[in-house]
C-alpha cells in the first residue's frame, strides 16, 4: 500500500476495518512480528495508526517491563509477611509508587526512577526532567513531595566527556529541584569507566500524606470527567509516532520532532500546589501523571484500573504545536502534565483551582459505562480498544540467561595478590590517595548546588549517612532515606551485589537512628537480549528479593532500566537500593560528625580481610576481581538494633557506617565533618592495613561519651555485638598510633580539592 493514498486521510476504526491489508510500520515502532500479530488478534482487525501508536509505546520495554516482569515477581512472592515492614505496607508494587504507614496517621510514599539515556544526550534537560517525572509520580499518590535524592554514575572522572555530562546533570537536578522547592537530602556520585557512554541518572522522591489522602490512579464512576491539566502538549519525545505520522499517513508534513524534552519546573511547582489543593478539597476520584507514553499511558491505565470505559476527545487537548497528528498527541511525552478524574458537579471547582494557580486545564473526556477506551478525532473514532490489553496485558518474555563465561576468571582474580602498603609511611600515602580519589572525595562541590534547607524540615542531609526529614513538627516524627548500590561488587557477583546494596542502605538508615522499614529500587543493567546481562539482572533480582525477605523490608516499588550499554559493552550491573526508615523523634537523630574531644570511638562488627571490589584495589591498582565482601544480614539487623537503641537512649554522639574505603575512610569523614581529630589504636591481632582498608560489611563507627561507655558496651555484649574501642576523639590530626599521623588540614585539602579541580 502506497503512502500517498492515505495522505491527509484519517485512519479511523471504520477505515481500519475496511482496509485490512494496509501495512503499518509496526517494526519501525519497535514491535516484534508476533507482538503485532497479537494486537491484530486482540482487536480482531488491524489496528488504526493511533491504536498502533498506543500499543507500541505501552508494550515497549520501558512501559511494559516485558523482559523484567518474570523476575520482579519475586519481590511480591518473597515479600515479608510479618514484622514492621510488612505491617506498614499500605500500597505495594504496581501503583505509581508504594506507600508505607509511618505512624501517627501519616503515610509516606517514595520511589526511585532512572533517566539515564536522556541525560547522556542532553545532560541538563535529561536530568531535570528526571526529577520532574519522579516528583509527578509522588504527587499522583496524593502526597506532598518533601525531598529528592539523586544516585548518579558517571564515566571516568578525568575523561573529557565526563566534563560535559556531570556539570550538566548536576545543574539540571539543581535547576529543577531547587526551583520546585524540594530539599535534596542525599544521593551518590560514582565514577567508573564502564559508565562512560551510559551514565546513570537515578532520581528519588519522598512524599508525605495522611492515610485518608492516598489516591490511586483509576477512573471509576460513569459520567465522571477526565481533565487534562498542566503544560500544553507539544511534539516532545515522539520519534516513533512521527514515523507513523509522516511515513504512512501524512507524508508531506515535516517530521521534525524534538528528541529532547525541556523541563519547566515552575509549571511543575504549580502542578504540585494545584493538585494538592484539589485533593484537599476532595475534588478528585482518580489521578495519574503523564510520563513515558503520555496520554496513551494515562488514559489506558486510568481506564483499565477503573470499573468502566473511557471516551476521549483528542481535539480538546490543548496543543503547543497545532501541526501534531492524533498519533503524535497520544504519544507525546511533553512534561508537566497530569490527568484527573473528577465528578461532574466538582469540575467547576477543580477548574477554579487550576485557574487560581494559572494552570491550563481542559475536560478531554469522560468515564463511560462500557469497557472500551474510545478516542475521537474530528468526530471520528480512531481508537477502540480494551484498555487492559494496552496497559496490563502486554507481552511477557522469559529471556534466556546464562552465567557469563568470564565470571569464574573474574572471581579467581583475587586481590590478595596485590602489593600492599607495608609501613606507616605507605599507609599514610595510601590514605591520602584514597580520600582524594574521585569516588571517595568530598562531593560538596556538587551537593552545594542543591538546596537542602527549603521547606524547613531537613534534619540531616548530605554528607550524612542518610537524609532525614521531619514530618510532624509537634511530635518530631521523621523519616530517613539512603540510596546505595556498588556496581563493582555486583559485577563480581550480582546476587551478592544486590544484597550488599540493600545491606549498605539499611545500615546507613540505621546509623542515623531510624528504623529501616521499606525499600525502593532502580535496577540499571545492560541489554536483556544479552544472556550475560540478563543473568546479572536475574541474579540481582533474586538477591534483592531474598535479602528483603530476610531483613523484613518489602520492596514497595521501583524502576528497571535496561539497555545501559555502549555497543557490546554493558555497564556494571548496578542495582540502586533506597531504604526508608522511621524515627519517632528526630531530635534523637545521630549525626556522623565527631564533635566532642574525649568521646570514645568504637568499631562495631568484625573485620576480615576483604578486598574484592574494594575502593583500595581500584585506587591503588585499578583492579577489579575476586569476590565481594561477605553479607551477613542477621548481623546487619543486629547492628541496626544497636544503632537505633543508641540513638533512642542517647548513648551515641555520632555514628557513621563503614562501607567503601573501609574504616580509614569513615574515620576521615567523621573527623572532617566535625573538625575534630582522632587518636586510633589498631586492635590487637589485626593487620593495620586490613583494619584500615578492608570493606567487611556489618560495621559502623560510633562516638560514645565516657559517661555512656559502660551502658553502651553492656548493651553490645548482651546482644552479642562485637564492639572494639579503637580510639578517642582528640586533637587536630587523624593519628593511627605507631603508623602515621595526618593533620586534618592536609586530609581536608586532599579530600575536598579533587572534585572542584576536575569540574570547577
Amino acid at each position: 500500500m502506497s503512502p500517498q493514498s492515505h495522505s491527509h486521510s484519517l485512519d479511523t476504526v471504520k477505515h481500519a476495518e475496511q482496509t485490512p491489508e494496509t501495512d503499518l510500520p509496526w517494526k519501525e515502532l519497535g514491535l516484534k512480528e508476533d507482538e503485532y500479530a497479537r494486537i491484530r488478534d486482540i482487536l480482531g482487525r488491524r489496528p488504526t495508526g493511533a491504536e498502533l501508536a498506543m500499543y507500541s509505546v505501552m508494550w515497549s520495554e520501558h512501559c511494559s517491563y516485558k523482559s523484567s516482569k518474570v523476575h520482579l515477581r519475586q519481590f511480591g512472592e518473597k515479600a515479608p509477611t510479618e514484622g514492621p515492614g510488612a505491617e506498614a505496607m499500605l500500597v505495594g508494587i504496581g501503583e505509581q509508587a508504594g506507600v508505607v504507614d509511618v505512624g501517627q496517621g501519616y503515610a509516606v510514599t517514595f520511589k526511585v526512577e532512572s533517566h539515564n539515556h536522556p541525560s547522556y544526550v542532553e545532560p541538563y534537560q535529561g536530568a531535570a526532567t528526571g526529577i520532574g517525572g519522579i516528583v509527578r509520580d509522588i504527587i499522583a499518590m496524593g502526597a506532598r513531595p518533601v525531598a529528592v535524592m539523586d544516585p548518579l554514575r558517571f564515566g571516568a572522572a578525568d575523561h573529557p566527556d565526563t566534563k560535559r555530562v556531570l556539570p550538566g546533570v548536576v545543574a539540571g537536578i539543581g535547576g529543577y529541584g531547587n526551583c520546585l522547592g524540594l530539599p535534596n537530602i542525599g544521593g551518590e556520585v560514582v565514577f567508573d569507566a564502564c559508565y562512560q557512554g551510559n551514565p546513570l541518572v537515578n532520581a528519588l522522591c519522598v512524599g508525605v500524606m495522611k492515610h485518608e489522602d492516598i489516591h490511586l490512579a483509576k477512573a471509576a464512576g460513569t459520567g465522571n470527567k477526565v481533565i487534562l491539566y498542566g503544560a500544553r502538549t507539544g511534539g516532545d519525545g515522539i520519534g516513533g509516532a512521527s514515523i507513523l505520522a509522516s511515513e504512512t499517513f501524512d507524508d508531506e508534513k515535516p517530521s521534525k520532532r524534538p528528541a529532547v524534552q525541556v523541563g519547566d519546573p515552575f509549571q511543575e511547582k504549580l502542578l504540585i500546589e494545584c493538585t494538592l489543593e484539589a485533593f484537599h478539597a476532595d475534588l478528585v476520584v482518580g489521578i495519574q501523571d503523564l510520563g513515558a507514553a503520555g496520554l496513551s499511558c494515562a488514559t489506558s491505565e486510568l481506564a483499565s484500573n477503573g470499573s468502566g470505559g473511557m471516551r476521549v476527545e483528542l481535539d480538546d487537548v490543548p496543543l503547543r504545536d497545532s501541526s501534531l497528528s492524533p498519533e503524535e498527541i497520544l504519544m507525546s511525552e511533553s512534561q508537566e502534565r497530569m490527568c484527573a478524574v473528577v465528578e461532574p458537579d466538582k469540575v467547576d471547582r477543580f477548574l477554579q483551582i487550576c485557574e487560581k494557580w494559572e494552570v491550563t486545564a481542559t475536560v478531554v473526556g469522560e468515564v463511560t459505562d462500557g469497557d472500551r477506551l474510545e478516542i475521537f478525532w474530528h468526530g471520528e473514532k480512531i481508537v477502540d480498544v480494551d484498555p487492559r490489553t494496552v496497559a496490563h496485558e502486554g507481552p511477557v518474555y522469559e529471556r534466556p540467561y546464562a552465567r557469563p563465561d568470564w565470571q569464574d576468571e573474574l572471581q579467581a582474580d583475587d586481590p590478595a595478590q596485590l602489593p600492599r602498603p607495608a609501613n606507616g609511611e605507605e599507609l599514610r600515602a595510601a590514605t591520602l590517595a584514597l580520600v582524594a580519589s574521585p569516588n571517595q572525595a568530598a562531593k560538596s562541590w556538587i551537593t552545594d548546588q542543591y538546596d537542602r534547607y527549603v521547606l524547613g524540615d531537613t534534619v540531616l542531609a548530605q554528607p550524612e549517612d542518610s537524609g532525614m526529614i521531619r514530618i510532624d513538627p509537634e511530635t518530631g516524627l521523621g523519616v530517613a532515606v539512603s540510596t546505595d548500590g556498588n556496581g563493582r561488587y555486583a559485577k563480581l557477583d550480582p546476587y551478592e551485589g544486590a544484597r550488599l546494596a540493600l545491606a549498605e542502605s539499611y545500615r546507613n538508615v540505621a546509623a542515623t537512628g531510624a528504623r529501616p522499614l521499606a525499600v525502593t529500587d532502580c535496577l540499571n543493567f545492560g541489554s536483556p537480549e544479552d544472556p550475560a546481562a540478563m543473568w546479572q539482572f536475574a541474579e540481582a533480582c533474586r538477591g534483592l528479593a531474598d535479602a528483603c525477605k530476610e531483613l523484613g523490608t518489602p520492596v514497595t516499588g521501583g524502576n528497571v532500566s535496561l539497555y545501559n550499554q555502549t555497543g557490546e559493552a554493558a555497564i556494571h550491573p548496578t542495582p540502586v537500593v533506597g531504604v526508608l526508615g522511621v524515627i519517632d523523634d528526630v531530635a534523637r537523630r545521630t549525626p556522623m560528625a565527631f564533635r566532642d574531644e574525649g568521646h570514645l570511638i568504637y568499631l562495631l562488627g568484625d573485620t576480615r580481610e576483604e578486598f574484592g571490589g574494594s575502593a583500595w584495589s581500584q585506587v591503588a591498582h585499578g583492579h577489579l576481581g575476586g569476590r565481594p565482601p561477605r553479607v551477613d544480614l542477621e548481623r546487619e539487623r543486629l547492628l541496626a538494633e544497636i544503632l537505633i537503641a543508641a540513638s533512642r537512649d542517647g548513648m551515641a554522639d555520632a555514628a557513621h557506617d563503614v562501607s567503601d574505603g573501609g574504616v580509614v575512610q569513615a574515620l576521615a569523614e567523621s573527623c572532617l565533618k566535625g573538625g575534630k581529630g582522632a587518636r586510633i589504636v589498631v586492635p590487637d591481632g589485626l593487620d593495620p592495613f586490613v583494619f584500615l582498608f578492608s570493606e567487611s560489611q556489618g560495621r559502623a563507627l560510633v562516638a560514645i561519651p565516657r559517661s555512656e561507655e559502660v551502658r553502651f558496651t553492656d548493651m553490645c555484649a548482651a546482644r552479642g555485638m562485637p564492639a572494639a574501642r579503637i580510639g578517642v576523639v582528640d586533637g587536630d590530626a587523624l593519628e593511627v598510633q605507631g603508623q602515621f599521623s595526618l593533620p586534618l588540614e592536609e586530609l581536608r585539602r586532599h579530600h575536598e580539592a579533587t572534585i572542584p579541580e576536575l569540574f570547577g
Partner: protein, 227 residues
C-alpha cells in the same frame, strides 16, 4: 492584640511556609497573603515578608514578573508609609525590581547555584528588622541562590555606605561576587530591608545551622509592639 506579619505567596514562592514558621517561633502571628490580593490593609497586617523562592520560575529575571503582581502596588504604598517590609532572597530581588531598594541582583560570578552556611556581619542594627542585633555582630544563616550578586553603580554604593544602609556584609569569602561584599541593604527610613541569605532557615537548632536568624523576626515584633 497580637502582631500580624504577612507573608506573600507568589506562584513559585518556596520559602513562604518557612517564613511563617519563623514568625510564629518569634511570637507573632503569621498571615498568609496571596499575590492577587489588591489591598493589604484589608488583611490588617503590621508588616510584610516577601519570601524566597523562584516566583514565576525566575524566568526573564528574578523577581521581574512578581513585581507586577496585584499585591505589590499595595506593598509599595505601605512600605513608603513606613510599614516594615523584609525581602529575603527572591523577595530582595523583587524589592529591587520595584525600586523600593536600589541596585539589582545578578548571576553569581561562579555561575552556579550555591547553598551553604554563610557568615555575615550585621552592619546596621537600627532597622526594623535588625534592632535585636548589635552592630558588628557575626551571625551564620543559610545562603542559597543562583543570582545573588549585588550590583549598583559606584555612586549608589557610596551612598549606601555613607548613609549606613549596608545592613549585612558577607564574611569568610564573598559567595557570589556581590559588590563590596554586600549581603543586604535597607532603605533610608530603615523599614524596608532586603538580603540574599535566609534568616528564616536559622530559627531552630534542629533544622538550621544556628538560630541566629530569629533576631530578624523578634526585631520586627518588638518594634511593632512598641509603636
Amino acid at each position: 492584640m497580637t502582631t500580624r506579619i504577612g507573608v506573600v505567596t507568589f506562584p513559585g514562592s518556596l520559602d513562604d511556609s518557612d517564613a511563617r514558621r519563623a514568625i510564629r517561633i518569634a511570637g507573632a502571628e503569621p498571615v498568609a497573603l496571596w499575590h492577587r490580593e489588591k489591598d493589604l490593609r484589608k488583611q490588617q497586617v503590621d508588616a510584610v515578608v516577601l519570601p524566597g523562592g523562584f516566583s514565576y520560575g525566575d524566568y526573564l529575571r528574578c523577581g521581574a514578573i512578581a513585581r507586577f503582581s496585584p499585591i505589590m502596588e499595595s506593598v509599595v504604598e505601605q512600605a513608603k508609609g513606613g510599614m516594615p517590609v523584609l525581602g529575603i532572597c527572591n523577595g530582595f530581588q523583587i524589592l529591587c525590581e520595584t525600586h523600593l531598594l536600589p541596585g539589582a541582583l545578578t548571576r553569581n560570578d561562579h555561575l552556579h547555584f550555591l547553598c551553604r552556611d554563610q557568615r555575615l556581619r550585621v552592619e546596621n542594627d537600627t532597622t526594623a528588622w535588625t534592632s535585636d542585633y548589635e552592630r558588628g555582630q557575626e551571625i551564620v544563616v543559610p545562603l542559597k541562590n543562583g543570582e545573588g550578586g549585588y550590583v549598583a553603580d559606584e555612586r549608589t554604593l557610596d551612598e549606601l555606605e555613607g548613609e549606613g544602609r549596608v545592613a549585612f556584609r558577607y564574611l569568610g569569602g564573598n559567595p557570589n561576587g556581590s559588590r563590596r561584599d554586600i549581603a543586604g541593604i535597607t532603605n533610608e527610613a530603615g523599614n524596608v530591608v532586603g538580603l540574599m541569605p535566609h534568616p528564616e532557615h536559622a530559627v531552630e537548632a534542629l533544622t538550621g545551622p544556628t538560630t541566629d536568624g530569629l533576631g530578624f523576626f523578634t526585631s520586627a515584633l518588638k518594634k511593632l509592639v512598641a509603636s
